[in-house]
Symmetry: C2
Subunit: 300 residues, 2 copies
Amino acid sequence: MQIDVSTRQLRAFLALADGRNFTRAAAQTHLSQPAFSALIRALEEQLGLRLFDRTTRSVELTVEGRLFEESARRVLHEAQEAVADMQAHAARRRGRVSLALLPSLAAGWLPPLLAGFRARHPDIHLDVADVLSEDCVERVRSGRADFALASTRADTPELRTELFCSDGFHLVCRRNHPLAKLRLPRIADVAAHPIVQLSRESSVRHQVEAAAHPRQLNTVMELDQLSSVAGMLRAGFGVSLVPELALFHFDHPELVTRPMQGPKLRRQIFVVRRRDRSLSVAAQALYEELMAHPPGALSR
Amino acid sequence: MQIDVSTRQLRAFLALADGRNFTRAAAQTHLSQPAFSALIRALEEQLGLRLFDRTTRSVELTVEGRLFEESARRVLHEAQEAVADMQAHAARRRGRVSLALLPSLAAGWLPPLLAGFRARHPDIHLDVADVLSEDCVERVRSGRADFALASTRADTPELRTELFCSDGFHLVCRRNHPLAKLRLPRIADVAAHPIVQLSRESSVRHQVEAAAHPRQLNTVMELDQLSSVAGMLRAGFGVSLVPELALFHFDHPELVTRPMQGPKLRRQIFVVRRRDRSLSVAAQALYEELMAHPPGALSR
DNA sequence: CGATCTTACGGGATTCGTAAACATA
DNA sequence: TATGTTTACGAATCCCGTAAGATCG
């Protein structure tokens, strides 16, 4: 025989166990005294035994009542903890977000936004993976990330992609480089010059190669980190093509940047998330925050 | 803001979390499907967040739902344990009884009764103190015993006494003792003979002395245990006066017993229990059992 | 006799089930 | 279109509060 117990009953029981007075316990429970009495009686009937020895003058726990008191306190406490925890999640006072995004976003645009989010939600745990686009998508697919900002689409039965923003590629070179004279260089202008590139896994590399196609670029070096590329350029290793959001790596007096001409030299950044699952409250909060503040000064 | 949760809600939630299907979970919960749906919705509203991502085709726990699932299982389990434990106590399948009673009762009359009780209620823990009357009463007063069978009254604001049974004193002596010839000896007959007595703490001793008053008895030895008294009598140390319920100690071919004459030579045995507290279910069960089977062959 | 718990009872909120509407694969 | 969830609504149930009754110190 399975029996229903509610936290209200437990609270009422414990109020009476503590105060040992129906009238006061009823007031504390926001009930009329007869209603409170009925509630205790119902609980006793459910359990099949008396919890209180009562006369008009005294109310005392029975032996069994004392046993039940221990359990009741524990159960009520845990139930209230569970509810409070859920409410904390609902109020964005607790939770966890796992975000995967491109290193170029993670270094430049994200930090101030994330600082604001953290200030508003100090107890939401943040888990940021600054990895390449493929890895971003894979993390969402596997559930390790709630959503991702990546530069590759991923529309599968489980994943959903939407455009977040786009940024144009810029030429970067030393101030005294011949190409520095051009206001809006085109890919054809660049093709002949020695070029420092990112590794073949990089989506930036893919897009640069695709934009140059069928021309072959004169790649003199491949690196993994844009900050390393900047160092090479300063040392005179050639030029590079870099998306606008990553230009801060090249903010140096010896270097200049020039926006590239041509529609292919524009990178799109997507939000990738699971199609079937909703975001957690915390993830949804960050998601909305990020979507409301795309890289502002930049064109869509 | 304090929120009410019931085990019914938790059961419903877990049924849906397990089955991931409203219709089946509703049936399992003995509810119509719309009623079940409303129940889940109410729970979600109380917590302030969605617990399930649902379409008509799939029902899945949200991130928060999975968190809640853990707590819900724990809370429900503990609540059910607590209720089941109370029901077990109510059904006399669990519990504890602490009984204090005179050694003479504990050795002779009690064991078979207690064996029957134990057979019927194997999981009720029995705690028997076979101690002298004063100690019996003290144990009830202090709460170490639920009730006692003692030979002294104890009517105080906290204790209540009622008659349980009575037994007459018998003379015990060697078969060849002069007193063995009397059918119904009186205290006057005994007074002159050497007598082996129990210690001054014993209520039997008190009563014997009181019955003899103002005569002085010719006490040759004081012992604590009746079985030792029996040994002394067999060895010819004299006679003794023993309540009927303790006569089994003297069941020996060399010894004879004779019922004493006179109203003072009758011992009363009382049930002593607390006035304010009810007995636990287990104690009440034993109490009723004992009260229904007073030492049968003996007069009241 | 006064304080306190219990019983009695009418009114109101809650919750149920049936039926229809709605949504998704 | 078929399966399965939500909405709509009348009805039964449960629970509350007021008032009267009972009980103990």
